[in-house]
Each structure stands twice: as C-alpha cells, then as structure tokens.
Symmetry: C2
Subunit: 366 residues, 2 copies
C-alpha cells in the first residue's frame, strides 16, 4: 500500500476526490427512513426500563429524532469496507512505478477474518490483482467461503496477533505483495468517509442533517465520516459496545490517552479492535468527533430486532450500535433533547454492514 506520507491530506476535499475514484466500482447505497422507529426514538423511555442502569431514578429524556439510515449493508461485499478497499486499490494503481515494478502481479496482502478480507478480495480481483488473505484457522466457515468466493487466496495462521503478523510477513516476503491494512491508513480512511459524503447528498432539501453517528472499531469509518463532515456543521458521534471493554474509543476519549489493546467477545464482532493511531489523530487530537457512546449487548440485540421487524432489512450486530445509542443511551438522548429542543434532530445513522452469521442469527434477535 502507498506510503502514508505520500497520501492525500486528510480533508473533506480528499474524501470527495476518493469518491470520484471509487464511484465506478461501488454501490450508491440507499438511504431509508422509518416513521415507526422515529416515533419509538422520540418517545421517552419508561422509568422501569431505566432501573438497573446508570440512569435509574432520572427523568427519562424526551428527544425528538428523525433517522436517515445509510444502508451499507447493501454495499458490495456486504459492508462499507468495500469503499476503503477500492480506494486503496485505485490509489495503488496510480502510484508511480507500482505497475512497472510488477506490483500488479505481486498483488496485495492483509490479515483479517472479517469484512475487510472480503472487501479487499473483491476490490483487488476486480482489477485482476491477486489478494492474499491471512485468516486464523479458527475463522468461521462462512467467512472463509465468502473470502474465497470474492477471489481471495487464503493462508491460514495461528489465532494470536503476533502469529497472524508473522504469517503475513512471510507471505509478503514470498510474494512481494503490498500490505493493505484494514483501517490505519489515510487511503482507507478517505475511502470509508465517502459513505457519509453520499449520505449528505441524499437528504432531500430543505432538510439537512444535524448529526451522524457511526460504529467505531479501528476507527476508519468514524474518522472518515468526521473528515466528510468537517466544516459542514454536522456533528459526528461514535458508537461502541460496552461489553468487556470494547468501548476503548469512549474510554480513550475520556482519559485523553489512546487505549491500544482490547479483548472483548462482544456480539458486535466487527467492533472488537482498538482505535488505530491515524484515526485517533482525526477523532480526538483534531477534535473532529464530538463524543463517543456505548451500549450493552442486550441493547444491540433489541436494536437488531427493531431493524428486522420494522425495516425488513438484514444487518449485522455491529451495524446497529448507532441506532442502539439513539434508542437507549440516556446521555445521548438527553443531549439531543437539550440541543434539538422541540424541533429535534435529523440524525444520519450508518448501518455499516449486513454480513451476519445466519447460523446464529436466531439467537441474536430472539
């Protein structure tokens, strides 16, 4: 992958340029609204529901919310990750000397057991470039099958981070393939930011968004969204699961120091990674993200069920943490009540993906 120092500046204009580059390859995903979910979110929670939470005994917030759901579950490869992956590939193709030096034949490499593996396989093979994917032997069978179906060549490794990295280094030295990391690179961040850019253009005038909330794991989507919203007046928020410390971004945000290890088995399996240093610079140091909020496993399941029942679309658990924050996090809801008043907020919610494991879906929505 291109040396980060040669990457475009981390600005809204660079997100716009990224969008131009990847437009021929990605879906312009639809933006859905849902009056039932708006009504539910704009109804104060019952006192009884707050019992046992940190907000027990408080007066439930009365926000007014109108949702605009950006459906990246309908994106190619089933997740927003296709945006960053296609952008990384297009940028590589433009890199002086890359093709001439045999880069096209050497291909690209990454280690991932999730959506990035599938997205990179698709993006690379679309341009006839080999994609080498390092996956732990313990990966779920459907993910292995999906990565192969998108054309990736899989090399299995041990499950720990050092084992995966050493296998990746081995494959790299054997093949000469270029490493494409899942989030900690400007080209990836700029690609992911294109979802929020499109979303802004899909809101029918005279409505404009007051805020956008996105899931946060490594921080590529959240930091890209922050760039896409820079100087537009749109507030940007991040959402995380709280289970077993997966809310590293929120905790880092509060302490001012980036937490760099997370070990959580949250059902939001796309959100188990700590925020990377380049995203962190945008999210926190440049103060382009206003706040981070977290939700429980049960709240994620409830939000999943709402989406399946009311919107009739398939989303993965990681995709609904933003909706869960807007539905259940009293801190967030109180802020919308205070700032939005009677008029309320038009809130963009990025549904990040739809690659749910169908073999366990029953348990996730029961």
């Amino acid at each position: 992958m291109a040396d980060p120092s040669t990457a475009p500046p981390l600005t809204r204009a660079s997100v716009q340029a990224a969008h131009k580059l990847i437009e021929p390859y990605i879906h312009k995903t639809p933006v859905l609204t849902n009056s039932t979910l708006d009504r539910l979110a704009s109804t104060p929670r019952a006192d009884a529901e707050l019992e046992g939470t940190e907000w027990a005994g408080r007066t439930p917030a009365k926000p007014v919310l109108r949702f605009w759901f950006k459906c990246e579950n309908f994106q190619k490869s089933g997740a927003f990750k296709a945006r960053g992956a296609f952008h990384a590939i297009e940028r590589l193709k433009q890199e002086p000397g890359w093709a001439e030096g045999g880069g096209r034949e050497r291909g690209v490499v990454t280690h991932s057991s999730g959506n990035h593996a599938q997205a990179l396989s698709l993006a690379a093979t679309t341009s006839g470039i080999p994609a080498h994917i390092i996956m732990p032997t313990i990966s779920a069978a459907p993910k292995i099958a999906a990565t192969r179906a998108y054309g990736g060549t899989i090399t299995f490794s041990g499950p720990t981070a050092p084992e995966r990295e050493s296998t990746a280094a081995q494959v790299q030295s054997q093949t000469g393939a270029r490493l494409v990391p899942p989030y900690n690179h400007p080209d990836i961040i700029l690609g992911q930011g294109t979802a929020a850019l499109e979303l802004q253009s899909q809101i029918p005038p005279p409505t404009t968004l007051d805020a956008i909330i996105t899931p946060c794991s490594g921080g590529g989507l959240l930091s890209g969204t922050a760039l896409a919203c820079h100087e537009t007046g749109i507030h940007v928020f991040g959402a995380e699961p709280s289970f077993q410390g997966a809310d590293d971004g929120r905790r880092s945000f509060l302490s001012g120091t980036r937490i760099d290890t997370v070990k959580s088995a949250t059902i939001a399996d796309g959100l188990r990674t700590p925020v990377g240093p380049i995203p962190w610079g945008i999210i926190y140091e440049r103060k382009l993200v206003r706040g981070m909020y977290s939700v429980s496993e049960d709240e994620i399941k409830k939000a999943m069920r709402m989406v399946y029942e009311r919107m009739k679309i398939v989303v993965e658990p990681s995709a609904v943490v933003g909706l869960a924050v807007a539905m259940f996090n009293e801190e967030f809801r109180g802020m919308v009540e205070r700032e939005g008043g009677e008029e309320g907020w038009d809130l963009g919610v990025i549904f990040s993906g739809g690659n749910v494991n169908l073999d366990v879906l029953g348990e996730l929505i029961r």
Copy 2:
C-alpha cells in the same frame, strides 16, 4: 364489502383504476436485482442435487434467468395485502349510501390470523373506520400484537373454520360491520394486481419482462397479477409449497377441478389456504395463468437463506416460493431453457411479504 356483482370488471383496466385509487396510501415498493442470484439460477444444478427427486437421472436444465424482485416485504403492513385492503376500503367509501347509512361508524370485519388482518386494520383505521378482526385464540403473540398496533379490535374465536365464521357472524350482527374477505372478492383481487402493474413500469427500457411468478394461496395475488398482465405478452405462473398437499392450486390445475380444502402445516404459513372460486375463474377458467409449480420445505429454506445472505433483506417463507421454483424446479427450469434459449428470460418475482416470526427465523434459515 361491496356486493361482488357491483364490482368493476375483472380486467387490466380495472387494475389500473385500482392503482389510481390506492396510490396515495401505499408504498411504491422497490424492484431489486441481484447478479449473484442470476448467476446461480443460470447455472445447471449438479446431477447429485437431483438424486432423490423426481428428476433423478435427467440432464439438469440450463436456463438463463435474470430476476426482477418486486419487494412487497417493504410494503405498508409488511405485505402486498395492504394493496387489496386499501382498495376494498376506498371502494366502500365510494359505495352509494354506505357512509350515509352509518357504514363508517359500523366499520369492517374479517377473520384472519395473518397478513390480511394487519393490512385491513391499517387500511380501515387510516380512514378512521373501525376494523374488527376475528383471530383464533391459538394465534402467535407477535401477530396479535401487530394487529392491535395497526388499530384493529380483536375478537378471539375457536381455531376451526366454522368457529371462526360463527364468531365473525356474531360480531357482524352486533356491530353491523361489513365483511372484507381476504381474497375471494373482485376488489381485493384488483388491489393485489397493482403490484405486478407497478413492477411492469419499473423495468428500465428496452428490457421487458418475459414472465412473472407469484406465490399462490387463496389466489388473490396470482389472479390479480394475471389480470395486470392480460394481453401484455407476459406469462404468469403460480408457486406453491408441496408439503402436505398445500399445492392444491397445482393439483386443481392438473385435474381441472378446484380443490376446496387444504390442511397443511407448511413453513410457508401464508400459503395454507385453498384457491378461492373467484380467483380460480381467472387463473384456470379464463386461462390467464399458464402454469403452477411447487417446491419442498427444504427448497423454501434454501431460497430464504439465499435472500438473507445475498440480498440482505427480510422475507417470510411464503415470499420466496417463486424464487425457489426458479432455482430448484427442473420442470420450470427446463421450460425456460426451451423457450428462452440463449437469450433467456427476464423473470419478475414477487416477494409477497416480510412478516416472518423472528422467534423461529433461526430455524428457518439454518
């Protein structure tokens, strides 16, 4: 409901008139395509897959299929049934003397435990008309809750048809409410036909549909579709589950005599009813439907899984029987191969609804 003898003639023009009447109330649901499903359907099945079926040992068919999915799972109330219900209500409102005679206050009544109950509740209460719904006491809790949420007033009855009918008659005599049957009425049939009418207008020129396939239960959707396609050159097919004789339409079609009782516990729980006499007249006697095909429970589950995995949308088992026929029924596939040749067919597939019981969804797609 209006006396059938005063209903509009059962023609394509009447479906167009129905569409004008209900357009302000219903969603123009999207039409989706999916290149992966096209590719899968256009690949001959493996010999091994045909073992144990009636086509064992035959050469697998090689049809070329391009699907156009009409997504009535995104329709109001979660199913195409809203079309017929809104049409029935609009026609009632136009009936001379109905309002003056206190019809609006007396309301409407039906017996249904499924999508018609929810659709009629929504359609009636949208116009401020009470909806009395007779449901068997054994109905699933989510269906009862959904019918109430749409504004219906529920009266419980015993589970058998005579018990439901006698409770309905009782409610009718107490309230003076007008009976709105689920399928055996011209106004319902014309309303349901509007889905296929819209679908035709949503295909981008120069493409035109070669055929449309819809699920068949009481026959309202299938016969309405047949009217909507009359003299357009579009072939119309019906799809049913074969389990425990739920393929009454297909068997009636073969014998020439309408079967009027069915007792099947197929997972396609919207397709357990025999074809009604008025739909039968259109489907068979007027020869507006070309053929009926059936699929097994396992084939329905496989088609469900394909839709969740590849299209990322929520459909109920009844919705996918048409897709299952195109994927797995060698008789249908052989016909497409013979008639479509190398060019193949553009096939409209009506996804009838998305009201799946989320508590059992896990078992349906595993």
